[in-house]
Symmetry: C2
Subunit: 215 residues, 2 copies
């Protein structure tokens, strides 16, 4: 077995743990999630988890980072799209909403992390790790912020306070992590219709023109 393959398997093991942990955190919250519980979901014992992660907080941070990585990856193809910012915004927003639906356990964990950070519910030692993750997420938010400001300059959006507007916009775009649940027989097209409704609602909130005027 080559070193490359061995590393790959190690990464797979890590990814499995992150995935199981994300689901547990979503279903039970941070405190109610026990390391034993995550291990049980994996069909293993906690020895396996403590081999890859130093602590529960470290595991949580891993899920948070993985979730944000997914978000950056989702909008990457559209960030440099030429043309009107409002059109670029719509592509990015759509990709973001679909991502919220597709990776809901990770995104719920990210949300919980932000809430915990705002509450200051972190130990002093982990604060620096946490602060970096929050910065990582803030940067992501600022990508959208710049786009909506640009779109306003170009006359396609119309709002007053940028900070509040960006907050409200993300509230709408993120909301599927709270109420989305897959339906039996649901197709990819169904999900995209759903996502489009969410994006349209946010679009309107930004003061965007009605759809028939779009591009």
């Amino acid at each position: 077995m080559t070193p490359g393959v061995r590393e790959h398997m190690q990464e797979d093991s890590r990814a499995d743990i992150l995935s199981a942990a994300a689901t547990c955190f979503m279903e039970r919250g941070y405190s109610e999630t026990s390391i034993d519980g995550v291990a049980h979901a994996l069909g293993a014992t906690k020895g396996r988890i403590y081999h890859h992660f130093r602590s529960k907080a470290d595991l949580f941070a891993g899920v948070f980072r993985a979730g944000m990585d997914m978000n950056y990856a989702a909008i990457a193809p559209y960030r440099a799209l030429p043309g009107r910012a409002a059109v670029r915004w719509r592509r990015m927003a759509f990709a973001h909403v679909v991502q919220m639906i597709d990776t809901k356990p990770f995104q719920r964990t990210v949300w919980m992390g932000v809430e915990m950070h705002l509450r200051g519910a972190t130990t002093p030692e982990q604060r620096s790790v946490f602060a970096e993750l929050i910065r990582y997420r803030t940067d992501y938010g600022n990508i959208f912020r710049e786009v909506i400001v640009k779109a306003r300059e170009e006359g396609d959006f119309d709002f007053t306070d940028v900070s509040i507007t960006n907050q409200l916009m993300f509230m709408t775009l993120n909301s599927p992590i709270f109420w989305y649940a897959p339906r039996v027989g649901e197709t990819r097209a169904d999900i995209e219709i759903l996502a489009d409704r969410v994006v349209t609602c946010a679009w309107r909130g930004l003061g965007g023109k009605e759809e028939r005027n779009r591009q």
Copy 2:
């Protein structure tokens, strides 16, 4: 001391506990909040709390119910307002948003309760109590739902899916519980400007006409 006064003091003691508990739940979440912690915030010990509430879950339910009571009270003056439903909606929505800001600890607790319910994070015995509280909140949501449907019939709103739209609308109207923080020297008027921005964003999301057309 008359019985009336004695009852009043007992109610005050209960209200103090609820208020302290709401703040603790907001700042630390459900699990991280200990009964000892709430007692400490009151300058008392947990004996006082257990005299008024059977369990931690019971205390939590008390805060939830109190929060919803406040919401019902806030919109009560506008529910039967004659005239166009869209205008009625705006009054109710504004009152709701201001209420989110004014009673944030209670509203955050309500939010947590809904999340816990959706996760099924309740013991079988407390499930019936919880179910009733969720119903209480759903009824509140339906009050708004009926108004936006009526406003759509009257041609003032324009949206496709009622359920999703109501979800997204509440997401926006509730959002101050996550990002609002009082600023130094903030006046009542400042808060009302803030609330109006939030309401306007939700209004647009519902497909409402631009402000200058609003009577």
